[in-house]
């Protein structure tokens, strides 16, 4: 399998948020500011790569029956390491993301990749898969958080874009705005994919 294909599979074709629709909790919770969205994305990417690599390494040693608890231990270890280093070197970010850092453990994306990809593939492919999925996840977080910060506080990455005459739509910073905005984004993504799919069908028919 080509590595570039594995990578883009995670970023676009099987984007964890827009296509697979998993790992929603943190996506909705931490995206009130672009900075937080990016930090969460990077933390998840780090855990994904780490756990994919280790799971791929131990996949032949671990008996099938206990693979899930074994994977969970591996994931929890990486999450705790990320948590410790964030606490030590980026305390403000750690405080902003709060409980959603330890909750990366139960983020379905990570266990899903360990189970469906890393436990069946080699080291390099698993690492690339982790990176691709992580980038796809980060991208989705960035899009949502930039939109929410822009609409809700008129700034992007804490840089004020709109002047004081702009009345911020605070609803976008609150839970309802997060749900509705993500719903609309997935809707847009779906309609683009539908159009592309029907185009491909059309092209195939013409080719005949």
């Amino acid at each position: 399998m080509k590595l570039s294909k594995v990578f883009f599979n995670g970023v676009v074709k099987e984007n964890p948020i827009f296509v697979q629709l998993i790992g929603m909790c943190s996506v909705l919770a931490v995206t009130t500011a672009a900075k937080n969205g990016l930090a969460m994305g990077l933390a998840v990417t780090g855990v994904l790569i780490g756990s994919n690599v280790v799971v791929s390494l131990i996949r032949k040693v671990v008996p099938n029956k206990i693979r899930i608890p074994a994977f969970i231990v591996v994931i929890a270890t990486f999450v705790t390491i990320v948590e410790m280093f964030m606490k030590a070197y980026a305390q403000d970010l750690y405080n902003a993301l709060g409980i959603f850092i330890p909750l990366i453990v139960v983020n379905c994306i990570i266990l899903a990749r360990a189970e469906s990809f890393a436990s069946k593939h080699g080291l390099l492919a698993s690492a690339v898969d982790g990176l691709g999925m992580g980038v796809g996840y980060t991208l989705a977080l960035l899009i949502l958080s930039i939109l929410r910060e822009f609409l809700g506080s008129g700034s992007i990455f804490d840089i004020q874009i709109l002047g004081p005459s702009f009345e911020p739509a605070i609803i976008f910073l609150m839970p309802p705005g997060a749900f509705i905005l993500l719903g609309i984004l997935i809707g847009i993504f779906n309609s683009i994919r539908n159009k592309q799919a029907s185009k491909e069908v059309l092209q195939k028919e013409e080719a005949r």
């Binding site: 909790c25 909705l28 705790t80 409980i99 909750l103 719903g183 997935i186 809707g187």
Partner: protein, 189 residues
């Protein structure tokens, strides 16, 4: 804090799903029918309350002081083991209950409400009674949101919905509107 305040606050004001975004995956995943939503809700309530008690005891007897950095890994293992155990016990004791709830149990391990409540109990420095009340309230709040949205989504089957919004997108938008309704409880406590 007053026990009643904790209960009202976790069920309505800071509803775990609609206000804190914990447990959104099962909230969207198993909310197609009210029947399954109710089953999931009961299973979650049971596991969350039980796991909160166990993690509380473990934290205060073993982890506190030197080993707090093992919290995440120990809690998730306890929850995973507990879910397995509950599944086994149910199978032996009450096959009817197992048939009704069994399919939801494996899904609960990765439900972030369970781990989230366990960690938040420790963070808020609740005592054992407050922990139980908080866990119970959180899971009742989760079940309430789950059953409500399932009841709404059942109606979608006979409605015409734009094709791109079918399924998850419309469910998310519905959740947003429900969340606005729940904002009305703000300031209650």
């Amino acid at each position: 804090m007053n026990l009643f305040t904790i209960l009202i606050s976790t069920i309505f004001v800071n509803n775990y799903v609609l206000g804190r975004f914990l447990g959104v995956c099962p909230f969207l995943g198993v909310s197609n029918k009210t029947e399954t939503a109710t089953g999931m809700g009961i299973a979650v309530t049971f596991v969350v309350t039980l796991s909160s008690i166990i993690t509380y005891i473990i934290h205060h007897t073993i982890l506190i002081g030197r080993l707090e950095y093992l919290q995440t890994i120990v809690f998730i293992l306890v929850i995973a083991a507990l879910v397995q155990f509950v599944e086994m016990v149910l199978k032996k004791i009450s096959p009817t209950l197992y048939n009704a709830l069994g399919v939801y149990l494996p899904l609960i391990t990765t439900n972030c409400v369970v781990l989230g409540v366990a960690i938040l109990n420790i963070q808020a420095e609740y005592n054992l009674i407050e922990t139980i009340v908080n866990a119970f309230g959180a899971s009742v709040g989760f079940s309430l949101a789950l059953i409500l949205i399932a009841a709404i989504r059942e109606k979608f089957e006979i409605q015409e919905i734009p094709k791109a919004l079918e399924g998850f997108p419309i469910a998310l938008i519905t959740a947003g509107l429900m969340s606005i309704a729940f904002l009305g409880f703000n300031g209650l406590v």
